[in-house]
């Protein structure tokens, strides 16, 4: 059936299929199905062809033919993106280019602390490869079992380790990119410093596949911490959390490897919906923080450091209560609780989500003003606020009121987005801190970003992809 979609000429499909071989050119509807939906079900596209090339040469041949024939190409990694950047439109004329088979780790260099990984390497596979040479690749995402390096870079992924190690952009030293014409830009250099001309790498990183296809990258590795401690902290207010963050960063520097803020309601949902969930703390704290310390020196050092930070926090009356995980299993339990927050929110019905960032000092004000904005749109809506406080990045999600029809609540989507994002904009914040623009936020970006920024982005797009075949309809 998909072959009958108006968009892609069957003879042309044959030419593309021949590049990768019939086995790796998916054309049956059931085979294509997993590539045209995204995980939240917000965007469903259509395609009559999914190509799964084996190597850079095949990607290059595909792009050459795409340029020759004006065929739009949608690059896709692990298909875990949350803004619809990786799924085709509904026309059926866009080809999905899956990078999954480019999954080699080409080189790992523990002395230079670098690894060269192909786009299709799954994040967890890279974690394990680094671990085997006693190194750490610190990008840490909920989807790490299926997301891929190429997608991580194309979306400039964030996650929980950004506070110490930076986001995907900062972990990348060089890229290999197949351009729309099929030409290959080889910038796979293992260099910490290189001031030779314009920074092309950072254009491709975060471009959501709209400028070229990232096929491989040089990524930074780090020494593996010798000690790790995780604490769960109860606090009275976001102000107290901010003061504790400031103190922890001051004392621990880059040994502070996570600082996650969690509001009262997501904890309530978690306790309600996780079977056998144990609250990490006694008492009912309005705000909680998961704090992780990783020491390069020793296990004892990590322990002493987290205790010193918490003691100082108690003395300054920033910390209300705290529990340090007693074992690795206990620490993993803390992390699992944090990572299940989005899932437990699902059970409570429809939600409208925001992935925002503001200057760190503005986090308490944002939380206060955000609540007012939400109430102005839907007074009984339930704010579910948690996120990467150390990066000024909150997942400011809003669950439907109890008893309201999901549809009625979702009808408020645009109004709710606008109300929350207006607060963000007034604080000079970002409406997409880590998830990107994709299809979900494209219209809003274009409508609200400074016109000159949009104009410059369009010029970049036209300079790199004059035919407009790279992931059309995304980002810009």
């Amino acid at each position: 059936m998909p072959q009958n979609l108006p968009g892609l000429d069957p003879a042309l499909a044959e030419r593309f299929a021949a590049i990768v071989g019939l086995r790796h050119a998916l054309r049956a509807e059931g085979d294509i199905e997993p590539y045209v939906h995204e995980p939240r079900g917000l965007f469903t596209g259509a395609s009559s062809l999914v190509l799964r090339p084996a190597n850079v040469e095949e990607v290059s041949a595909i792009m050459r033919l795409a340029t020759e024939t004006g065929t739009p190409i949608v690059p896709q990694g692990g298909n875990t993106g949350l803004v619809g950047g990786q799924v085709p439109d509904r026309s059926g004329g866009q080809i999905v280019l899956s990078l999954s088979r480019l999954n080699r780790i080409r080189e790992i260099d523990p002395v230079s602390n670098t690894v060269i990984a192909e786009a299709g390497v799954v994040l967890d596979v890279l974690h394990k490869a680094a671990d085997e040479v006693d190194r750490l690749y610190p990008l840490s995402l909920a989807s790490q079992g299926s997301c891929q390096i190429g997608g991580n870079l194309s979306s400039n992924a964030g996650g929980t380790g950004v506070v110490a190690y930076g986001n995907a952009r900062e972990l990348c030293l060089g890229v290999e990119v197949v351009l729309p014409t099929g030409e290959v830009l080889d910038d796979l250099r293992k260099l910490k410093k290189d001031n030779t001309g314009y920074d092309l790498k950072n254009l491709f990183v975060g471009a959501e596949g709209t400028l070229g296809v990232i096929t491989a990258a040089v990524l930074k590795l780090y020494p593996k911490p010798k000690g790790r401690e995780v604490a769960w902290v109860g606090l009275a207010s976001p102000e107290a959390a901010l003061a504790l963050f400031d103190r922890a960063q001051d004392m621990a520097g880059s040994a502070l490897t996570a600082f996650e803020l969690i509001g009262h309601r997501p904890m309530e949902f978690a306790m309600r919906h996780i079977p056998d969930a144990r609250p990490p703390l006694e008492g009912d704290w309005p705000w909680q923080v998961l704090m992780e310390i990783s020491s390069g020196r020793s296990a004892e050092d990590a322990r002493a450091l987290i205790e010193d930070i918490l003691s100082a926090g108690f003395e300054a009356e920033q910390v209300g209560d705290a529990a340090i995980a007693a074992s690795v299993a206990h620490a993993n339990e803390f992390w699992r609780l944090r990572e299940m927050l989005p899932e437990t929110q699902k059970v409570e019905g429809a939600s409208i989500k925001h992935d925002i960032s503001v200057p760190i000092a503005s986090i308490p004000a944002f939380i206060a003003q955000g609540a007012v904005a939400v109430a102005s749109v839907c007074p009984e809506a339930r704010v579910v606020c948690f996120g990467h406080m150390g990066d000024g990045n909150l997942h400011y999600n809003v669950s439907q009121p109890v008893g309201m029809a999901a549809d009625a609540f979702l009808a408020l989507y645009r109004d709710m987005n606008k109300a929350v994002h207006d607060v963000v904009r007034a604080m000079n914040g970002s409406i997409s801190a880590e998830h990107g623009i994709g299809q979900l936020k494209r219209d809003e970006l274009i409508a609200t970003a400074p016109p000159i920024a949009i104009e410059l982005m369009r010029r970049v797009k036209a300079a790199f992809d004059p035919a407009g075949i790279m992931n059309p309809g995304k980002t810009i």
Copy 2:
């Protein structure tokens, strides 16, 4: 006299001068003189007009008029760049745009750990402003008493703190840029995470004023270390230094704030030419390292950490001898010695310099093969090797043979560059790790970089500066 240069029409000069006021439009030869030479004397340009605008509006008006009249503009900061990027050509038709009067610190936010500084703020002034709010701005350069923030960013400056804090690019969260048309891109956001479209910021950073004029930036601040220790270490080989670096980074993480490698000959020159110089170590070590540890915890912690690293290094026979500075004055003496190396080299006659980087693991091989390359061009030439080992970045300078005529040695400039850079390229390294391209390395970049990279950079240039008025003849 400069008014008689063919390039700039006097009536047009009047229109530009009127924008900034007569006092700030320099037209007398003596006034212009300091703006048309660069510090090493490699490039001398000419100009009949230096404009010193007071604010963004004046910069904007200048660029608007420049676009209208096709007048080339050369932005300039502290004029400390080493590759001729900031000086005009010899035509006399290029206007120098000095950003020195845009020297306000617009805001400093110790909670968000950010500062908004205008382009003309001198680096040391920023250091002091950060210090006053108990914060650190970690960019550290030999020229910090005169170099300016705008120049630091336009050249993506490096220096001694990069190993812990990154280069100028990594310290910058947002920029304000006046485009060639006079339009102002305001991207002064204090955000650690922002995934809303293409990364324009990183195009302007490192573009050497060829895409627009950076007028202000949001920069990262860090907690001020509570303890600092500096050690001078004697080692047998670059391999030993590499092993010690690996160990130090493993144990200290981001508390390792400097790791500078120094060869035998620069130390010899320093001892010969610094009055009353005291060698930090007894004995004659072929390689030496200046290592700095900064602790966010306490002075005692910094001391314990550096001792632990050195003890472990001794045990593993990586460290031959080491002296920990006994006081702040002693530590400053170590640093002064390191920073005087370029100056003491000058006394030894003509030199041919290289600012290279290679993957860190390749540093020992580069040092071995570099010596062979140098000898192949000039057997008696004296290699002066020192630099930021932790970044894979060496200042691989070559002093003339004793007794050779300076001119005869400098006649080997191109051959020497080629021989050394061929070694760099074979190791997939960079011929400009931190100084940039400017005029000095433009031809070599264009001749040796992958053609597709040059092509993409040219498209970026054409997209941002279609009239070609921004710092023509530089970078690309």
